[in-house]
């Protein structure tokens, strides 16, 4: 218990230290990429829960991210003025859930309030996760990987092919996301610091939730499912339900990340749904140690930041491909796993280290 929260406190300290460091170095612009990193990290810790603890791979999580981002972006930019006659629109307006918004050219738009849009986006992602997750999680191995990959590609193709969603250009001009106390999630340089803390605060909140979940009855049940699904079922753990719930939870994390990053960036494009993004998330979870939330979070912080700052240049995707191959060849249980010191000792003493579950 104490250790769990001391890690959280240490991480919060790191977040503060990074902000102070950028302030002292006179380079606050780094915070922009670090904020974006935070939202990707939220997705990654959710995915880590699914891959590492429930033992189910998903190569389609960029799809859930995109569902969140696209739905929120669409609802907060699509002009409803033409549909004023519809009862639903009138009802929403009466409830104060619609906003008047002026565009670049001075025209007025009637759009959905970001809060409602966010709720709709996450709800849709959760519903889709439930519907897709049911049959998908019955599959194993190749089939599971292919099915989730296929799901991701369908979302990508739909985003790319739908005019209403901006086709290849995506949706831009997405407004900021207003919060209480005068805070707003937006990429405006004047709110850069507060946004940095908001984003990482959200990640820490997510981490606390997941850490508690892992230590609970559910977490222990999941590790039993991961270890031996049939045995877990035999001792009375409803394996299918636990797997599905974890899948839905990680999809919810991804869609929340998608919503907020879209409002932060002011737009979203189909590349957010691409296969490469999904593969990249899996690569980060793998290098973070598969069943190691903190490892995944740290790796996400480092790698996403480097990638967003453009350190990998045109080799961006290749870097993540190479990481995946190397990790899976030499450390299939992930790099930063819990027993890494013991493993090193065993390696040093010449013991066999190539044992693994088939």
């Amino acid at each position: 218990m104490a250790r769990r929260y001391s890690m959280v406190a240490a991480f919060a300290g790191l977040v503060v230290a990074i902000q102070v460091a950028t302030y002292l170095a006179g380079a606050p612009y780094h915070l922009t990429q670090l904020t974006m990193t935070a939202y990707y990290s939220l997705l990654i810790v959710g995915l880590c829960m699914l891959i590492g603890y429930a033992g189910q791979i998903s190569l389609g999580h960029a799809g859930f991210f995109a569902i969140g981002g696209y739905v929120s972006a669409f609802l907060t930019t699509h002009d409803l003025a033409a549909h004023k006659g519809l009862r639903l629109v009138a009802l929403l307006q009466k409830a104060g859930m619609l906003l008047e918004r002026s565009d670049l050219y001075g025209g007025s738009h009637l759009v959905v309030h970001p809060w409602l849009a966010c709720a709709a986006a996450v709800l849709l992602a959760v519903v889709i996760a439930y519907v897709v997750g049911g049959p998908v999680l019955k599959l194993r191995g190749h089939y599971l990987a292919m099915a989730t990959l296929g799901f991701g590609i369908i979302i990508y193709r739909v985003a790319l092919g739908t005019e209403l969603l901006g086709a290849a250009d995506g949706i831009s001009e997405v407004p900021g996301f207003p919060l209480p106390f005068g805070l707003i999630i937006s990429g405006n340089a004047s709110v850069r610091v507060s946004n940095y803390y908001l984003a990482w605060g959200l990640v820490i909140l997510g981490m606390v939730l997941l850490l508690n979940l892992i230590q609970s009855r559910v977490g222990r049940a999941l590790s039993a499912v991961h270890g031996a699904e049939d045995a877990a079922g035999a001792i009375g753990i409803p394996t299918a339900r636990y797997k599905l719930n974890t899948f839905v939870l990680s999809a919810a994390f991804a869609s929340v990340a998608g919503v907020f990053l879209t409002h932060y960036n002011g737009g979203i494009g189909p590349s957010e749904a691409s296969v490469m993004k999904s593969v990249r998330y899996v690569a980060i979870v793998a290098i973070g140690g598969m069943a190691n939330l903190w490892g995944a979070l740290l790796m996400s912080l480092v790698l996403n930041y480097l990638s967003l700052r453009g350190y990998f240049g045109t080799f961006d995707d290749a870097v993540f491909g190479v990481i995946l191959i190397l990790i899976m060849l030499f450390a299939p249980d992930g790099l930063l796993r819990r027993h890494i010191l013991a493993d090193l000792k065993r390696l040093a003493s010449g013991g066999a280290s190539d044992e693994e579950a088939a």
Binding site: L139, H142, I154, V279, G321, E356
Partner: protein, 286 residues
């Protein structure tokens, strides 16, 4: 007729999947990349040497790539888990694609038509067909026939089948199982490259064209029952034709989404495939 052409290439990719699956029990997600590599190499070589030589060179080079992949990444792994192999082959496919991007850039390329030009057509029983479609279908048919002869009639083919049936028993009979796996990668790289060359004049080739092919090829492999190459041909035609008809109903932009939706449906409803038996599928390790 576009459906048939695409169907041929899907079938060829599916057969590539099957060969490696039969030999090793793993799905090589980089299968589509062999097709892309074959097409790309042939396009580049055709600038310097005559077309047949260029195609031959492309097939040889891709075969070598297949062998290198197996030797470097797969051979020394001791009983790898399925998940591990999936991720490694995905990593390999990303790597090949990125190398292709840096070598050939983002432009779309194509080979000249083998006989005639893009407007030549042959009248066949009342319909006009581009000779290239006949080339694609013909080469596909010859490849399937040769492969089935190879696996059933030659000593080497029988050894490969022995390895896929029971690796340990095959080893006890003195078959070098490791080499058989390398060989399976080489064969599937080779037929992928051949397929890439024949359809390249019609479908064009692009550094990124491998992944969609891999997924559709997998759809076809599942549709026909994983490991069953003859059924894969029929399934390939079905998918290719379904896909070309889907344009009538939905915008072309959704074409790929449709074929993947078909894949998901098959996986959910009947993972053993249309032609496969459900009982046999249950015995396989996914």
């Amino acid at each position: 007729m576009a459906g048939v052409t695409y169907g041929t290439i899907y079938a060829i990719v599916a057969i590539g999947f099957n060969i490696i699956y039969n030999a090793t029990g793993i799905i090589n997600f980089a299968q589509g990349e062999f097709v892309m590599l074959g097409g790309m190499t042939a396009v580049t070589l055709s600038r310097f040497v005559p077309l047949p030589v260029a195609i031959l060179g492309a097939v040889v080079l891709t075969t070598i790539v297949g062998a290198v992949i197996e030797i470097v990444f797969i051979r020394w792994l001791h009983r790898p888990s399925v998940l591990r192999m999936v991720i490694i082959t995905i990593g390999i496919s990303i790597l090949i694609r990125e190398i292709a991007l840096h070598v050939w850039g983002e432009s779309v390329r194509s080979l000249p038509y083998f006989t005639g030009t893009s407007v030549t057509s042959i009248r066949l029983g009342g319909v006009y067909i581009s000779p290239q479609v006949l080339w694609a279908v013909g080469v596909g048919a010859v490849a399937v026939a040769l492969l089935s002869a190879f696996f059933n009639l030659t000593m080497l083919g029988r050894q490969m089948r022995a390895c896929s049936a029971n690796r340990d028993a095959a080893r006890l009979c003195g078959i070098n199982a490791g080499n058989m796996v390398t060989l399976s990668f080489m064969i599937s790289a080779a037929i992928g490259a051949i397929g890439g060359c024949v359809v390249c004049p019609i479908t064009y080739v692009h550094y990124d064209s491998g992944t969609p092919l891999a997924i559709k090829g997998f759809t076809v492999a599942i549709l026909g029952g994983l490991g069953n190459s003859t059924a894969a041909v029929g399934a390939g035609m079905i998918l290719g034709i379904l896909e070309s008809f889907s344009i009538w109903v939905l915008p072309a932009a959704y074409k790929e989404a449709i074929s993947i939706a078909i894949l998901l449906l098959i996986l959910f409803v009947r993972p053993s495939g249309i032609f496969g038996s459900a009982e046999a599928a249950r015995l396989k390790e996914f």
